[in-house]
Structure formats: structure tokens, C-alpha cells
Symmetry: C2
Subunit: 466 residues, 2 copies
């Protein structure tokens, strides 16, 4: 009767001992594998502490968006925001602060109105799409379709109508095809104009603007966004057999290109100043809302990484450069201008990072680049467990850094966040109150730590050297 | 060792038996107390079945709000909705369908715009308040205050300014005082105009319109609603010391009174046709949104009670009358006209019910009247347990039935619901998609059963007779 327990307890002890040894072994392996991070633990904790202990970054974002409002390319608002940002960077003590001239498309919305004329006349919420041509007035019956297939099946009925794309939002990359390509697709069938259901989840009678692209060789017809509510309503009226007439007036037009600029500031590298780590977002926005999530926040958290390094006297081995790009929304000229200006130096670009998904709860970074780089980023991200931003996802980059990244084959990162970005994206509701100051602080901490270590570590990201 | 279980099981049996007897006794008491409801159980279940088995009511609400859109007093939209409703009631087979003429105020919004002129010019979301005077343009600095107290403390600074009431939404009855009385309060101190933070929870840059009331003897100054986002933003700019200039343009004006009408339909009583149970909502709305929650839904669920009684051949002892009132939003003339027309018959008004809190999940009824009536309503409400609308709350009534209820001392009910009414109240987002077809069905069932039993039962509600 006493043997079994005795044997059992010995067995249990043995198991515990073995497990303990395995655990210690694993910790030892991890510890030795992450040992290379030890020199960066203290600066990382200082950067995190600086970011989290204050809401400076949110206040700066509020000042930017409150003061200058929305910032469409070519607008005085953007020009003044650019001058303000450069002045602020100088007062932060950044190195080599400058604005780099970029000629940008200058589209203006003008007055616009969409009415149901019959049944009784009243206006609908709408926003012309960026780049659309205007119209002094188109009055026609709508043809509501649930997608391109249904349009093509009803091609004969599209002629002389206003085509309404009633496609519920699924994923941005899917649904945005109706906004970007819907006008030309309908023009091919003789439509007079198109209305595109908001590319975003259902809001509060909220249309979402954004860029369209006219195909060569087809008539350019006016295009506007309507709310999900009105798209569904026009669908119901059509299904019910109600005869509807719409009237669309849009004062939109394209003016000659205007002068704008990327805003650039640096922390010059301590040992390898010609090797550059570039981080940034875009300062321009659509002409509604305040461009807070898209992309004032991305600008501020990138900029904040440099401000904090400067304040904490952290000058890494390589140069860290923040770029607030212009004209991401309707031309991408800021990113192209950066490529043109720095084409000869791309080989010295160690990494480029863009933050343009809103500044909500940061969860980590997207990465495109060599596998060796992914392993290093995964290691660095362990420093960000406390701020919850320690995951590395497949695929990084951004519209502004894209041209340089592609041409220079540069490792590319993006800040990845978790939030309801597309509810407010390209709408009047993209304002700073939607953004949690603690999320901005955590995002700034994440960008700062990731950037600092990449700029400071002896090995170059993506080059096998360990 | 065997006794205890034996004793225990006897004890348990005894407890079970006693509990069972208590339960049976309670059931017996309840059964006998609710025995008077037995004749109404079968018609109640038929009404509930009719309502719940179909989405007819929601589809009717969608047709009303899709086709006629918003329906401000004096508008062609409202006129046509009135004619449509009367025609539909006739085709439902209701008795004595008629429109009863009401002269109503005719306020129109006109074009309107609020801009920040400096820092750089851009527009803010706004909605003029109903009844406001217009302005061809007022340009002034804002004075942002957090309430009337802060306004009074800064009275000397209000002169020549646009006063901004930045008062976060708490309860409607509290916060609405700034919308209704804020203009005159600021005019007293020499303000040129007022902007009122949206009376509703934070939306998506969503101003809420609604009526204001000018005090006699004070200048009438323009008043508009702004979003919570912009109210907080102007507050931050003031706190930051940023100099702001606003420009307000409003084409609002009051035209001569216009002809409108209450729409009335009935199920004539089988035995006591002169005793009347009145139920209704208001067909007019503000000139934004589609007046779906406020108050197309209240109209439809009230009307639905009669349509279902007719369809099911349920003709109660007393007359049931549905009234779709006009001009609840900006004058209350429909409710006043009802009182004028039926003043001599108020003594035969057994009960009046108004549904004007949106048609969200119904939870029961508010009641104002004698305690004996409350007990009877509580009994009837047990028939509505299955639809979840079985609670009787203190206080019932509504703006339209109010004048008659007060003058005739008539027992008053309201349909009580649980939903985010004030998020969309008086905004462009008050559209039918915010309303669940199942909630509309349940609300129609609740109104129908409550109304039917009150009209059918031998005793008159509120008269001690049991």
C-alpha cells in the first residue's frame, strides 16, 4: 500500500525536474539569442517612458488638425501646415530641417449638391470624388447595381442614366475598386454620372470621398460618393418600382499644378551619417474632416520618434530622417519627388517606414524585406511587449515610400494598428477626438524604439551579419 | 447510518410539497386576479402573430421615408406624405378616414454655411436651428462657454461675439435647454449669434437641429447647431489662445403659415362608438434625415394597430382612432388643432397614447393617470411578456396629445422603447435602416394589444369598476 505513492512522488519529482530543466534551457536559449538587444534596453525604456508619460504627441496632433483643418494639395491650409511643421521641427532641435519643393495637382471641389427631384425634391448627403470633373447639372434616372457584373448585364439600360454602385463595404482593397474605377466603367456604357456607395462601414449618413481614376479613351463623367443609407434607399425604390429622378451639380475642377513641399527633419547619425533610416506619413489630406487619422497621426508619431531622441540625447549610429510627404491622397507626387531627389542615395537607405493606417491601438509592424530582417525585427519587437506592439506581420510599406522602396529594394515597414479606421476614413468625421491619446503615445513609443534600434545596431537591417 | 438519509428525504419531500402548494396557491391567486383577461388572450395572440409573422410595418415605414424623405411643416414632401397616408388608410379599410386641416408655421432653412475664416478658411458641419432668423453674413470671434453660468460670468466678453455653447450631452431634457433658450440668453449680453453643441451623444461630425424659442423683448439672433467635434475643437483653440474668426451665413426665414393636416382613421366601436381610444404619432419631421425614428415609426406602429384589427376582423367595443399629427416639431399646431376640434368630446376620450421616442426595442408603456388604471395596464401588459413589452413606467403622454390630455384629464400612455434614439435624433442619419424590422413588429404588437383590450374591456380605463 505505501509503495505506489512513494513511486508516484518520485515520478512526479522527476517530471517536475525535467520540465524545470527544459524551461531553464529554453530561457537560456532565448536569453542568449536576445542578448544582442541588451545595449538597447535602457534607451528603449527611456523612449517608452518619454512617450507614455505625457500626451504631447496627441496635443501636437490636435494643434495641427484644429488649427489648419483639412489640408488638400494646393490649399492654403496645407501650405500653412507645412510651414508650421517645419518651424516646429526646428524648435524641437532636429537637424537639417527643410522643405523640399513638390509640384502637386490642384483639384477643388467647389459647391456641389445631389437632389432627389421626384418624388418630392430634397437633398441627399454626397461628396464628389477627388479628381472628378464637375457638372452644371445632370438630371436623370438612377440605375442601381450591386456590382460591375450587374452593370454589365444591364449595360443597355445604363445609357443616359446615373449609375449607382450599391456595393456594401467588405475590405477596402475590394470595395475601393468601385470608387476608383466605377466612373469609367459606367461611361463605357453611356452613363452620364456615377454615385458610389460609401467605401466604409455604415456610418451616420456619411459619404466617403477619395480619388478616382479615369481610363484613357472614355468620356470623363462626374462621380460622387453617397452614404450607405441612400444607396440602400435608392435600391429599395428601384426594387419597389418607384420612378426616381436625380439631379447632380458639382463645381469640381482641376486647376494648374500648385507648389507644395515635403517636410524633412533629421537626427544626423553619430558614426554612419550617410546611412539613413526614413520614417514618415503624409501631411496632406482630403478636403473634409481634419486629416487626423489620415494621416496627421502618422506624421506626428513618426516625427515624435526624432523629437524624443533629440530630447533624450539619443543620437544613433545612422541618420534618422522623418519625412512628412505631400500629396499622397491625389497624386502621390510627394513620394515620387522623394525618389527623384534621393535616387542616387537609395543604396544608403537602410529602411523606410510609413504610418498611414490611423493611429489607433498599435499592435506591431508590417514588414517587406529579407527573412534575416524579419528575424531581427521580431527580436527588436520584444522590447515593445509592454506597449502591445510586438508583432511582425507579412507585408509593410506605404504609398509614399513605395516608389523608393521598389526602386531601391529597401526593407519596408508600416506601423500596424487596430481600430475602426474605415468608419471615418475620407469623411468629415476624421477628427482628433476619434483618437485615444494613449494610443498615440504607445504608437510613438513603438516607432521610436523600432527606429532607434535599427539606426543604432552595428549590423545593417537585412544584411546577414549575425 | 441509514436514518439520516431517510429523515432527510422525508424532510426534502415535505419542503418540496410545501413549496409546491405555495406555488400553486400563488398561481391560483394570479390566475384568479388575471382571470378577467381570459377573453382577450385569443385576440391578443392573433394580433401578436399578425405583427410578428411579417415585416409589413417596417416596409410601410421604409416606403414612407424613402418616397417622401423628410417632411417639414409647409413642405411639399409633408403634403404628399399626408395624402399618401390617407389613401393608404382607405385601402387598409379603416373607417372614417379623413384629413383635418391645420394651419402651420412655415420655416425654411435656405442655404447656410459656417466657416472658420482664420486660421485658414474652411467650412464646419452645421445645421441652423428651426425657427432661427437668417443672416447674410456675421463674422466674429467665438466665445466658447461650458454653460449658462460661464456665459453669465463672461457677460462682458459676449458682446459682438458668436457665443458657442460647448455643453456635452447628458439627458435630453437637460441639454436641450441650450438649444431652445441659448440664443436669447446670449442676445441679452449682446452676442451676434450662437452655436450650440449637438444635443445628442458624439456622432460622426453630426449636428442636431431642433427648435429654438426667442424670448420677447430681446434681439432675435441667428442660431445653429454644430457637432460635438467642432465644439470641443473651438474649446481647445480658445484654451490654447488661438485667435479664431468665424463666419456664419444662414438663409433661414419664416414664411406665412401654410395649410397642413392631421390624418385620422378609425375602427368604429361595436357597442360604444362614441367612446374613443386615440393612438398616434407625428407625420412631420425636421428637414434633414427621413424622420424615420422621429416619428414615422410612431405613426406606422399606431396605424398598424388599426390595420391589424381590421384585417383580423377585431372590432372592439369602443372606437379606436389613429391620428398622425402634423407640426409636432416646430409649432405643435396639430395637437392644438385636435384639442380645438374635439374639445366637446374629450369626456368620451377613454385614453390617448403617443409613440414618439423612436421605434426601437419596445419595453412597455409610460402611464399618467389614476392608480386604478395603472393596475389594469399592468394586467394587460402580462399579455405582452412574449414580446418583452410588459413593463408600466411612471409618466406617459406626448407633445401632440398633451393639450387634450391636460384639458380633458385623460389617461395618457406612451410607448417606451430602448434604443440609441438621441444619436440620430434631428440629424440626417434618422433613416429607416437604423430601425430593426423585428422591433417595429414587436412595437406594433404591443400597441395593438394594449389598445385593443382598453377599447374592448367592459370597464372604462381609470374608472373603478372591478
Amino acid at each position: 500500500m505505501r509503495r505506489r505513492p512513494f513511486i508516484d512522488s518520485h515520478l512526479a519529482l522527476a517530471i517536475v525536474t525535467v520540465c524545470g530543466l527544459i524551461t531553464l534551457e529554453a530561457r537560456g536559449q532565448q536569453s542568449s539569442r536576445l542578448g544582442w538587444l541588451d545595449p538597447y534596453r535602457e534607451p528603449a525604456s527611456r523612449l517608452i517612458g518619454e512617450a507614455i508619460s505625457d500626451h504631447f504627441a496627441w496635443r501636437r496632433l490636435a494643434e495641427l488638425t484644429d488649427t489648419f483643418g483639412n489640408r488638400l494639395s494646393g490649399s492654403e491650409n496645407l501650405d500653412r501646415a507645412i510651414r508650421w511643421a517645419a518651424a516646429q521641427m526646428k524648435s524641437d532641435g532636429l537637424d537639417n530641417v527643410r522643405t523640399e519643393k513638390v509640384m502637386v495637382p490642384h483639384w477643388i471641389r467647389g459647391d456641389e449638391r445631389l437632389e432627389i427631384v421626384e418624388p418630392p425634391r430634397h437633398t441627399l448627403a454626397m461628396l464628389g470624388l477627388g479628381g472628378s470633373v464637375g457638372t452644371s447639372g445632370i438630371e436623370a434616372e438612377p440605375l442601381v447595381v450591386r456590382g460591375f457584373d450587374e452593370l454589365d448585364q444591364n449595360a443597355a439600360r445604363a445609357k443616359g442614366r446615373i449609375v449607382v454602385y450599391n456595393v456594401p463595404f467588405t475590405a477596402y482593397n475590394e470595395t475601393v475598386t468601385y470608387r476608383s474605377g466605377g466612373a469609367s466603367r459606367a461611361a463605357r456604357h453611356g452613363a452620364l454620372a456615377v454615385l458610389v456607395r460609401a467605401v466604409g462601414p455604415a456610418g451616420l449618413r456619411t459619404p466617403h470621398t477619395g480619388a478616382l481614376r479615369y481610363e484613357d479613351g472614355l468620356p470623363q463623367i462626374p462621380a460622387a460618393a453617397i452614404s450607405s443609407e441612400d444607396a440602400d434607399r435608392l435600391q429599395r425604390m428601384q426594387d419597389r418600382g418607384t420612378r426616381v429622378r436625380l439631379r447632380l451639380i458639382m463645381g469640381a475642377r482641376m486647376l494648374p499644378d500648385a507648389e507644395s513641399a515635403n517636410v524633412v527633419g533629421e537626427i544626423r547619425g553619430r558614426e554612419l551619417p550617410d546611412e539613413v533610416v526614413v520614417i514618415g506619413g503624409h501631411l496632406d489630406s482630403w478636403d473634409v474632416g481634419a486629416g487626423a487619422a489620415d494621416d496627421g497621426g502618422g506624421c506626428v508619431v513618426s516625427w515624435e520618434a526624432l523629437r524624443m531622441m533629440k530630447k533624450l540625447n539619443l543620437r544613433p549610429r545612422r541618420t534618422v530622417r522623418v519625412v512628412l510627404f505631400t500629396n499622397e491622397e491625389n497624386g502621390g507626387r510627394g513620394g515620387l519627388a522623394y525618389l527623384e531627389k534621393y535616387r542616387g542615395e537609395l543604396k544608403n537607405h537602410v529602411m523606410m517606414m510609413e504610418s498611414d493606417s490611423g493611429v489607433f491601438r498599435p499592435v506591431g509592424f508590417g514588414f517587406s524585406g529579407p527573412e534575416s530582417g524579419r528575424r531581427i525585427l521580431g527580436d527588436i519587437a520584444t522590447l515593445l511587449r509592454g506597449v502591445g506592439a510586438d508583432r511582425i506581420f507579412m507585408g509593410g510599406g506605404g504609398a509614399d515610400i513605395g516608389p523608393s522602396v521598389r526602386e531601391g529594394n529597401i526593407p519596408a515597414l508600416s506601423l500596424n494598428v487596430d481600430g475602426n479606421y474605415f468608419l471615418i476614413h475620407h469623411t468629415p468625421a476624421d477628427t482628433v477626438d476619434k483618437i485615444d491619446p494613449n494610443d498615440v503615445a504607445r504608437a510613438a513609443a513603438a516607432v521610436a524604439v523600432m527606429t532607434y534600434v535599427i539606426a543604432e545596431m552595428p549590423q545593417r537591417l537585412g544584411i546577414e551579419s549575425q
